[in-house]
Symmetry: C2
Subunit: 441 residues, 2 copies
């Protein structure tokens, strides 16, 4: 049984806008205007054939990477809903049945949304899979991660606030060249809610076809941003299987382990104060982290806890006041956030002794603190957020309002290489680089 | 149609304890031990007769006080579910049908929970009502509030974290003598979740019978505390009618106007960060406040934003970081909270210029700020929270770990009298008194 995403009930509140659109300054670096690519752009092309599967994407389906959830949409009819897969391209010997759902929104009627959980996979193995039937069948593949282990190398991509403009395309194309094996996605996917009525649904579909080029072949770990608070079609549900969720998780916050990393995804838009379900869950999840097995501990949120950009400044204070002390206590290696349409990286700073009555008041260097990365620079239609606090605060190590993405390449239990790439540099020369030393080892 | 309380789906997480139990210090003032009254205590007596209505309570059923929702439980069968009511005790000429629901919890099977919305009432009128039938019928009454108006006097009671101990009984008995016309309830009702299995349900029932003595005759405005986060039987649902909710509210956060007061109830345990539904709602609700019609603006939350008690210290920081600037901007008169099992009142202080990068760091006197009252001293089984920060912070005007309740008597648009009464003073001499000057007029 796949989990139905709780937000799929389409709470229709007034439209939420980001507030950071339209800012300009000398820091802005972008080749293209901030508008969505036309719906007839080739990246949105509908696959040929009756009922051909589209918007194919996968995510990890269990705690340790021996399961995947494959999701796709068929436009014409519900069936078939099975996935054929195997380790040989010419012999897809196993078949697994998925679930189907659809929804309507104004006059928009979605296609048939399929989710199929495939379990019991072997680690570190290439699997081929086929969905659809006859002439409309489509073939993809994915590689399962290596067995959980402290020195297992692995390369993650980090993308946020992607949208579907020409800048978004540039980001995705750069990422596709990176050799990244899985994407830590820090929230705000399609920005379809910037459109109206039927177009909201249509722009989820175009985004799904656009992201397929990567997301059909490697897991993207989704996070909910403000553009998903109201309306997130089930097709991009964070589809952790129910038996994992019951024990460990919810669709809005969850944790997975992959290679040598323990990844905790938090929901900025769910309650997180003491006694809230997310608070209780995180407390328990942090206690479950075993740095002997997964030395690297990363947290993904949408609202940054440290950002010196004027856009959304201090919106992360609420969560910081509740969770920062745990991040320091558990020596989280890095916290990745989006929301602000720019790039920023912090030094290891904390402000955990702030006390409303008395005590320390400002962030100070703290070797146990994570680095905080804001990387909401995927390139959506709202444009860049290019106004920063002046002067640059001490906690801020690097900041720039350019589009791009990052990679984090774990070498072993002690070292990882982190790079931020800006799209405007034709050659893939990192604009911000860091050798991360593990906080535990 | 009555609204079904969203928490009635009984999320069964691990038990949450308050953490403040068992603290003792020289400040503790209590006559009785902190344990629940025995189930056979007379205050929990089951009304005689087959299927006799019990746990009767009312709340305001619309924005301006011309509707009430009457709720009750029948133990034996679902019907009848109507309320007979009228302005003459001997002629209950109108009948209105309610809705019925029930639930199970472990081996506990609830009674039949009735909600009946009565609309179109006349302001400032005494209504008599009868529920149940034949020998089991029971009679009650309530007084509708005066028409909304800037100089309309009204007397509110303020109670929090009541529970069902002998101290709780003392609090309720003292309140019953106060002349209060409606209760602002700051969260944590029955503490039934401190019991196990069937007893959780049974202790909701006993609490409902205990509170009936007041709640059947005057509206209690409910707020969700941590003891309701997981499990809140529908019988105590915050039953605003659906058409009010659709426009203005949710069952977890809502606003009503009564006499000369605009009352905003917030949920400490729902998301409240920017872009969250509660944030959007509050922004709109504050803009709807018309101080020309309702000069008095009160906010009810569960977690205090200012408290110098060691228990739950700074748990309200997350909400403070998001909402405090609005409370100052809109000149809220007072913010009432519970959660901490003690009493505290602040001066008018704010900390809205706190800035993580630089700027003001501590709360400072601010004539536009509300007073913050923590009044989680109703008397539940967890006992008093009697350890305070030493020295007393400048923002703290009065604090004491004693059981009690408060009243707020609005005299006109400019003046209101606020009193806190501790149970241990036999005579009803206020232990903390204040003439509140309206923040708008």
């Amino acid at each position: 049984m796949l989990l139905k995403f709780v937000l799929a009930s389409f709470v229709l509140l007034s439209s939420i806008r980001d507030g950071s659109a339209g800012m300009t300054s000398s820091f802005v670096r972008t080749k293209w205007p901030s508008e969505d690519m036309p719906v007839d752009h080739e990246v949105f092309a509908i696959p040929k054939g009756y009922n051909a599967p589209q918007q194919v994407h996968i995510t990890q389906g269990d705690y340790d990477g021996k399961a995947v959830i494959i999701s796709w949409v068929t436009p014409d009819e519900a069936g078939p809903s099975h996935v054929q897969y195997g380790t040989s391209k010419s012999n897809l010997q196993t078949s697994k049945e998925g679930t189907v759902a659809n929804y309507t929104f104004y006059n928009y009627k979605s296609g048939y949304i399929h989710h199929c959980l495939i379990e019991g996979l072997t680690h570190n193995t290439k699997y081929y899979y086929r969905i659809g039937s006859g002439d409309s069948a489509r073939d993809f593949w994915f590689q399962t991660p290596p067995t959980i282990g402290p020195d297992t190398p692995y390369k993650f991509g980090i993308i946020g606030d992607l949208g579907q403009t020409f800048n978004s395309l540039s980001t995705l194309e750069h990422y596709l060249e990176s050799g990244g094996q899985a994407v830590l996605y820090v929230g705000d996917l399609s920005y379809s809610d910037e459109h109206e009525f039927e177009d909201v649904g249509l722009r989820w579909d175009t985004w799904g076809r656009f992201a397929e080029k990567s997301a059909a072949y490697q897991p993207w770990f989704w996070n909910v941003g403000n553009h998903e608070v109201e309306f997130m079609p089930e097709v991009f549900c964070v589809a952790l299987v129910e038996n994992v969720r019951e024990k460990y998780s919810s669709p809005l916050w969850y944790a997975v382990r992959r290679a040598s990393a323990h990844i905790i995804v938090l929901s900025s838009y769910s309650a997180f104060v003491r006694y809230s379900p997310q608070y209780i869950w995180l407390k328990e999840e942090l206690a479950r982290v075993d740095r002997e097995k997964t030395p690297w501990l990363f947290v993904i949120v949408h609202k940054p806890l440290y950002s010196s950009n004027v856009a959304h400044y201090m919106e992360g204070e609420a969560m910081r006041s509740v969770f920062e002390s745990w991040f320091v206590q558990y020596k989280v290696d890095a916290v990745f956030a989006g929301h602000v349409h720019a790039y920023e990286r912090s030094y290891r700073y904390s402000n955990i002794d702030y006390n409303i009555t008395g005590g320390r008041r400002y962030p100070v260097p703290d070797t146990s603190a994570p680095i905080y990365v804001t990387i909401g620079d995927g390139g959506n239609l709202e444009g860049l957020a290019s106004s920063y606090l002046d002067p640059q605060p001490e906690y801020s190590a690097f900041r720039e309002a350019s589009y791009g993405h990052a990679t984090l390449e774990i070498k072993n239990r002690t070292h990882a290489v982190y790079n931020w790439y800006r799209n405007d540099d034709g050659k893939r020369v990192p604009a911000d680089s860091l050798v991360l030393l593990n906080q535990y080892w």
